[in-house]
């Protein structure tokens, strides 16, 4: 079976890089459709570069990136993205922020004006699902950081993307809010079956959410280990206190420690 996201032997150098050193080198990564993949690694290892490559924001110097059966030569459009910074537009209400992707991506772009009510209903449904029911009329800056991050998840999902790219979306949140959002993303994934690539530096987060965890080496990044997480789903937060869970986290930690040592 062909992978949904297939990054094959990719080496990427940013055009603006002063030292001309590659951000990732000989990187190979395959994620199946509907799979929840997590990428962990020491800081500055090029995790975010993987996101940019998979969404067509950057193109590899060497190697190929295939998403949804097509080689990526332009922005992929079937992806939703969320970052550590929620980047909501402050002059739009939360609801209008959610509708923003629909103003860009086809076929919604040409349908939006005439089917506004349908899309608003969809946005409100999503908001309710992340626990923000009735908050759509507020401006993002009237929401707390955790609420903004939920809204940013909704925005990433509003156009029903087949691929969800998460770049440390929970990094700036407090521990309790983070756990809440883990459960939200877990449920959304279980329900809608999209493919997820989560970039994180939190091993417990990666193991709790993902089907497979990829460890990256220090810069220039490549995949040094791949761990299948065979914990049964649906997973409860309690699972984090089981020996099986801790063993996986511990094992991954070993890989990261090696990667840091090698750097």
């Amino acid at each position: 079976m062909q992978a949904f996201v297939d990054i094959h032997d990719v080496t990427h150098i940013y055009s603006g890089a002063e030292d001309g050193a590659p951000a990732v080198e000989h990187m190979t990564l395959a994620v199946r459709e509907g799979e929840f993949a997590a990428i962990v690694g020491p800081s500055g290892c090029g995790k975010s570069t993987v996101m940019k490559l998979a969404t067509g924001l950057q193109f590899p110097a060497k190697g190929t990136v295939v998403v949804g059966g097509e080689e990526v030569t332009k922005p992929v459009k079937l992806a939703g993205m969320a970052f550590q910074n929620p980047v909501m537009l402050p002059w739009r209400t939360t609801l209008d922020n959610l509708l923003l992707p629909l103003e860009i991506v086809q076929p919604h772009r040409s349908r939006l004006r005439r089917h506004k009510a349908e899309y608003v209903a969809r946005a409100e449904h999503l908001l309710a699902e992340v626990g923000l029911a009735g908050q759509g009329a507020k401006f993002p800056w009237q929401l707390s950081g955790g609420m903004q991050q939920r809204a940013s998840l909704c925005r990433a999902l509003i156009h029903e993307p087949k691929l969800l790219m998460l770049d440390e979306p929970f990094g700036a949140l407090d521990a309790f809010t983070r756990e809440e959002l883990w459960c939200i993303i877990r449920d959304l994934h279980a329900e809608q079956g999209f493919t997820v690539i989560l970039v994180t530096h939190d091993l417990r987060e990666a193991v709790f959410l993902a089907d497979r965890v990829f460890c990256m080496s220090a810069r220039p990044g490549r995949i040094i280990a791949e761990r299948h997480v065979d914990l049964p789903r649906p997973r409860d937060l309690e699972i984090m206190y089981t020996a099986a869970f801790t063993d996986i986290v511990h094992e991954l930690r070993g890989h990261i420690a090696d990667a840091r040592q090698a750097a």
Binding site: V76, V87, L89, P101
Partner: protein, 260 residues
Amino acid sequence: MHAKRRRRALLAAAPWMFTIGFFVLWEILVRVTGMSTFVLPAPSVIAEALWQFRGPLSLHSFHTAWMTLAGFVIAVVFGLLLGMALGASRLVHAGSYPLLVGFNAIPKVAVVPILVIWFGVGWLPPVLTAFLISFFPIVVNVATGLATIEPETEDVLRALGASKRDIIVKVGIPRAMPYFFGSLKVAITLAFVGSVIAEYNASNFGVGNLMARASADFNVPLLFAALIALAVLGVIMYAATAIVEKRMTGWAQRSQMASA
């Protein structure tokens, strides 16, 4: 509580007290020293002149306001367009910035003689001087607003296939609006300076010209009365743009709203 309320009342009265106090002190100073009105007329003398020349003063003030607004409107349109071009294209930005800075470095009074040679004495030099002196802050602010879009926002939209134009329309322009409206306050003040300078040197009308003539006649009270008229006019125009700014970009002043 009582002391607090009194303090607040005092704060509210302070602007009036200080302003009135300023003029009273001025009056006393002139009377006590017996200063000649040719040097420094007392406020009472200036008030008299204001009343005596109220007709020409208001007429010329209106004219000056028109000149200022005309130049300002041209500056807004031109500044917005150039600012957008600068903010949207790094090539245009890199290429034209030195030219712009160089142009802005020229004191605009020095341009007036050239404008007179080109257009003669009349309404064009004041309008053009107002425009030339005031467009720069608008350009810089609009360009800054456009050029400082968060990279993540850009990524989110570009990954969806947004064109450069989409990003500018959906994010760049709304984002630049607080910068733009903020710059209007600076621009209107500068435009006012420009039109008065040009009127002084190259017009047959306007407060600037009135002052030039009063100065030739050594009519110092009228000169000061004209200054008062200019101050009032300037404050009105500044306040108008400040109100527009507040109306248009309430979301950008959220911190103040939250604390109020």
